[in-house]
Subunit: 463 residues, 2 copies
């Protein structure tokens, strides 16, 4: 900023927008980093601002635009691909003070939230309404941040990802102008009016604008839920079961794969005792009666594929324990090697390609002496290797990096994508280019240049 | 084209790409118009070309680009908003000779199709696979055309629209370059890799590029299906039932509303005898057992809202007859006034706003002496007025036009959209501007200018 008059001129302008307490340098800045510091070097911003309204975001963006200062939107910092790093310095827009739930329409199954509202926060707000928001990436992420990274998670096989569940976005563009991607206040369940701006901004990872409000689709809380665990003789048997369950049309809510290493880690971390073998965690949502049938059909399929009897989690507490074990996979993996750090890498392939890629990946891990338990949303063909490594062992860090590139290229060779839900961020830009081809990348660059000609919005990410 | 050397120089170039039979002037050109000629004046192109491959589409586009000739993509001409009119003359790219079904992956629930493949064509190709493609706009439209207009229809409440069911597109851009919106050959069920180009082109109505291949998500054919008809004392009672059915999580496959005028027309046209009152046509998909429960729950809800007993359609033939009646709504409406023409207009609002907008719209029709039976995909809040009018009665044509604008503005005032599934095309450009606001329109114009700087792709549509 020095070339533009220095921070001493900008900071007072920021303060005049969002107050003394709304602007920070120094210590506060260090808090603003992501959970992904293990692989992506920590790049703190020069300044953090805490706007309290879209008008303040807009006013701050105009100042940044005038002074050519990068803008890095920040929700909860739970992203996994370095999306909140300030590669070129600049101003972190921390949005946690905008934390209102707005415009709940129960009969229409929709609600709007500001960026400070997290997934768990919204569901706790909805507790007495009979409605819920199912997209669940594990972390208690900001819903606007989830929109920005096109998050999904365990429930996506039934309820879709953020792409399918965002009805409208309020976005502040690089020049400070405010748009509503589906028109101000609009919330029809479907539309074919003009270009789909909503889904252009969903997954744009802060590189096209700052999301300041998200209108979401809600769902009725199922009358009943039941979870189960089933063990398989092979990865192939677990995947075959998944394909057949989907083929029969069982509306399964969750179908999560854990490999032998992952289940072993979960057993240790959560004092559980599941057999150490390829495993599916399943969840069924519906009426009591429909659950019976869903479970019967599914169990017939899993048993025909050599699966074990179901181990049940019926009441809320037992189910909670089961899914806590799944969501604690990250910490369970970390516990495998105390003192180490973890990085969860993510690919997605067509279902039929899963056994091949998982088997090859496990061989690769073994061959290279790496610790990388596998967990995944197998109903979508999406899985993660949670890479546990010693950040001080430079050789291991390099081997992990090379492994994640091989994994992504393996997914690309099998008609898949280098990221199913974590996004491109900092680490997968070269892979994105391989995935899309140079012409599609040129189109993306053209869109970016149109919306952000000065390249101020989260620069250095995605493209 | 005269200013660029005249057609006499361009036509031989076209012929050298796609042969003598692949280029036409004169008579053949007249065939290329849409079903919507009643309200949108017929604007035939100067030339029609019938390319046989993406390479030919690309080569033809390059010629057009060089000579500044508009390109109008043409699938089946079943669109309803004037999308295929050649407002500025130019070259119609008729894609029916590209009619291959490609790369069916049964285990992965996906398939790719060229633009000549229609919805019914694909489902008949899939007949023995246990799979189907559910998006059903009524007309036997080209699937690539359905992607281009973001089509949906009766099954969308359960299976989603084209937005949710297109995995990848091959697109020829204005300069003739070929891109794959999700990367060449890629077909993961989800991805967060880069900007969502797929959903930028879905619904772009030929204004950003020519779609030459679409990769679609498929579904398992349900074990059983059953349909029913239920009559209500009021629009409110029918809508309340719909909201409650969705709230309980019944995975209803179709829930279609017909007003008294529409059901009366259907009775006459199809020799049926349903009570002349607000009516729901319902369809349930699932296992035999789950159908029982879905039906019980739904019938309890409809009866609590004063609905009649269900009139059943269980076997395939009776169901076929029922849905034929619904799909024949257009012709049934036309038959109300022999010699007249019809125009189906389309809006979408949040569910809770449906009773108000339908009641107000019926009053408006009555007050203005217009014939406009109402049918709609009530589970999505989307409905159509099929306007039947005498095209030679200029006063009536004007009143219909004014009515459709009032209807759209009524939808906008209720947080809705001016089009749920027909698209903007020619007739709703001013309404799109009201819906989105000037800044979002500027963003759309910026995207258009980036992808098609010469404004050659279906000019005069959408924006």
């Amino acid at each position: 900023a020095s070339e533009n008059g220095g921070w001493e001129r900008v900071i007072p302008a920021f303060r005049s927008v969002c107050g003394e307490d709304g602007v920070s340098l120094g210590e506060a800045v260090r808090e603003q980093h992501g959970r992904d510091e293990s692989v992506h070097r920590c790049c703190p911003p020069d300044v953090v601002v805490w706007p309290r309204s879209v008008e303040e975001v807009s006013a701050l963006a105009k100042i940044c635009h005038h002074h050519h200062l990068p803008i890095i939107p920040f929700g909860t910092g739970t992203g996994l691909e370095g999306g909140v790093g300030a590669l070129k310095g600049g101003v972190c827009f921390s949005l946690r003070n905008m934390d209102r739930v707005l415009d709940l329409h129960q009969e229409d199954f929709d609600v709007s939230v500001e960026p400070g509202v997290t997934r768990k926060g919204l569901n706790s707000y909805l507790r007495d309404t009979g409605l819920w928001f199912p997209v669940d990436p594990g972390a208690d992420a900001s819903l606007c941040g989830m929109a920005a990274t096109s998050a999904s998670g365990t429930n996506a096989v039934r309820y879709g990802t953020m792409r399918e569940n965002v009805l409208n976005l309020e976005v502040v563009l690089a020049d400070g102008s405010i748009i509503h991607t589906a028109g101000r206040g609009r919330r029809p369940r479907k539309t074919s009016a003009g270009y789909n701006l909503t889904n252009l901004f969903v997954g744009s990872e802060g590189t096209l604008g700052v999301i300041t409000k998200t209108t979401l689709r809600l769902y009725g809380v199922p009358e009943a839920m039941v979870s189960a665990v089933c063990t398989f003789p092979s990865v192939q048997a677990a995947v075959d079961s998944t394909v057949q369950v989907l083929q029969t049309g069982v509306p399964i809510a969750r179908i999560e794969f854990l490999d032998d290493v992952m289940i072993d880690a979960c057993n240790s971390f959560n004092s559980l005792s599941y057999p150490v073998a390829p495993t599916l965690f399943l969840e069924f949502h519906g009426t009591e009666k429909s659950l019976e049938e869903q479970v019967t059909v599914t169990e017939e399929i899993t048993q025909a594929n050599g699966g074990s009897d179901f181990s049940w989690a019926r009441d809320a507490e037992t189910r909670g324990r089961l899914w806590k074990a799944r969501h604690d996979a990250w910490y369970a993996a970390l516990a495998l090697r105390p003192g180490c750090k973890a990085y969860s890498t993510d690919v997605c392939v067509p279902l039929s390609r899963l056994p091949q890629i998982i088997v090859e990946t496990k061989e690769d891990l073994m061959l290279n002496g790496l610790t990388g338990p596998i967990a995944g949303h197998v109903g979508d063909g999406n899985f993660h290797c949670i890479m546990v490594m010693d950040p001080n062992d430079q050789d291991e860090v390099i081997r992990v990096h090379e492994f994640t590139e091989r994994l992504a290229r393996r997914a690309l060779a099998l008609d898949g994508t280098c990221t199913g839900e974590h996004g491109v961020g900092l680490g997968k830009r070269a892979l994105l280019r391989e995935e899309m081809g140079p012409l599609a990348i040129e189109v993306m660059q053209g869109l970016k240049a149109t919306l952000d000609p000065k390249n101020l919005m989260n620069p250095g990410k995605v493209l």
